[in-house]
Symmetry: C2
Subunit: 294 residues, 2 copies
């Protein structure tokens, strides 16, 4: 059993990106520039955005954090989006979700210029991914694919079972794993809340990607000997023994599942760090596109 | 065993559309108007476009056929596309594929205004379908979903196996059958040229959608008793006993498979007529959107 080490892999890729940025600067090309928009004071959101800004600094990107109170109106947010679309100094930007309930995620995300949509959430980018056209891939699925690729895991002809059909992980994973690409070319089965016989379906899987947000849902008896298991879940579970009062728990019962696997991601330190790296890779790509189009 | 009768269902829906058009006209709203662009003299393409134009007439739509010789350049075709995008009298239009080899399908289809893309081929419409947002669904997948719906076939929680991952049938089918909608909510498995154990996977299916273009690929021993089988294939197979010298053959060995099915589509007369009806439904929707936005 080998750990798919997201911390290590993300550090390696960050170094590669940092080197590229240095090369650009030595040629007089300006650094990639990511903007992040944060509305309200959601603790988790603040942590995530902070980590993204820090990652930008680590690789030498410019970053801009735009913060607005939870009272920000949809029109005010849309005005920010339009400014960011028009601003030639910004290569790409993200709107941190969730937004306050009085703002429509859909309307805001659809207003993002697809060429600056480094989260890969815009319908046009999702469609281009489905059609195997150049695009910004959604960050978590892209991170998983990169992790599989960096560990040289053969996916072609394998049966991949995706647990969950969310728009930001499960659904895009089914598209990425089925398409004619490397990694890809899997027989893909997607299961979700309406599915039956999930245990039996998982037992057929060469690769399991668990993204349903149910702590330790995947047990050892659902996993075939030698399977590759990728755990996207990250839920806070109450734990009195921890100073914080909780521990982070994946969708996979790691201790019992790991011994059966050829490869498995830990939680934390697996998919999580890869997600941020995907955002950096998308921003780099946006900056490259900008340079090309000039 | 019951036949999923595409001829009958498409006639019913055409009557419904024709009635709607008449209602519109009695209110002074102009008819929906579909344009079709045909480049070159491909026999099958001419037949398909002819059938689409005829279907428009049947339901009372206006239609315009724009024909250009195979020598038409990409720039000339793009100019037609831009004119159609700008023309307020055209609600929707299609570019009949395949295009001559010197023209990029991709470039032309991406130039189509998504709000007039009644074939549902534009990346933005594919992405909106994936995200379960209002959009034009690609015609064949939409026709299949409509057929299942009209026959009241329960899909929620069923295991649907899609054979083929083409951008116009297989891939969109996987998205439509998995999404949280009715029809939908299936556990979906997609198999393709790189897949293994296809026979065994098919035997698990409650619903099989065959779209690989291999005549009579699906045999009786691949089908579970009581399954629903939808046959998208339509290949010309040499047949000396026919005046034309060929017969139309689906992806399913109908004679041996049908007795095991609860429902099955014939070829021809199953999915084919539903595809044209989807195009009409999309054009009606485009015209409705036009009325709303005015």
């Amino acid at each position: 059993m080998q750990i798919l080490d997201g911390n290590l892999t993300s550090r390696t890729i960050k170094n590669e990106i940092a080197q590229k940025v240095q090369e650009w600067q030595s040629k007089g090309i300006r650094k990639p520039h990511l903007a992040a928009v944060l509305v309200g004071e959601n603790g988790a959101s603040m942590t995530y955005v902070g980590a993204k800004v820090k990652a930008c600094e680590e690789v030498g990107f410019d970053s801009t954090l735009i913060q607005r109170p939870a009272s920000c109106t949809e029109d005010e947010l849309l005005a920010i989006v339009h400014d960011l679309n028009a601003n030639p100094d910004i290569d790409g930007y993200i709107i941190q979700l969730p937004l306050p309930a009085h703002i429509s995620d859909k309307r805001v995300l659809e207003a993002v210029d697809p060429s600056k949509d480094v989260d890969g959430f815009h319908p046009e980018n999702i469609g281009r991914m489905a059609l195997n056209l150049p695009c910004f891939l959604p960050a978590t699925p892209a991170g998983i694919v990169t992790l599989l690729e960096r560990y040289g895991i053969e996916t072609s002809g394998k049966h991949c079972v995706v647990l969950g059909r969310s728009h930001i992980v499960g659904m895009p994973m089914t598209l990425l794993m089925q398409r004619n690409a490397q990694p890809g070319n899997c027989t893909v089965t997607v299961v979700h809340s309406k599915s039956k016989n999930i245990d039996a379906i998982c037992r057929e899987a060469d690769i399991i990607i668990a993204a349903i947000g149910q702590p330790e849902f995947v047990k050892a008896d659902m996993v075939k000997q030698g399977a590759v298991v990728v755990d996207v879940g990250i839920t806070r579970v109450a734990d009195a023994s921890k100073k914080s009062g909780f521990r982070l728990c994946g969708d996979v019962a790691f201790d019992e599942v790991a011994p059966k696997c050829s490869f498995i991601t830990p939680v934390p330190g697996g998919v999580g760090p890869m997600t941020i790296v995907s955002l950096l890779m998308n921003t780099l790509l946006a900056a490259e596109n900008r340079s090309v189009s000039k």
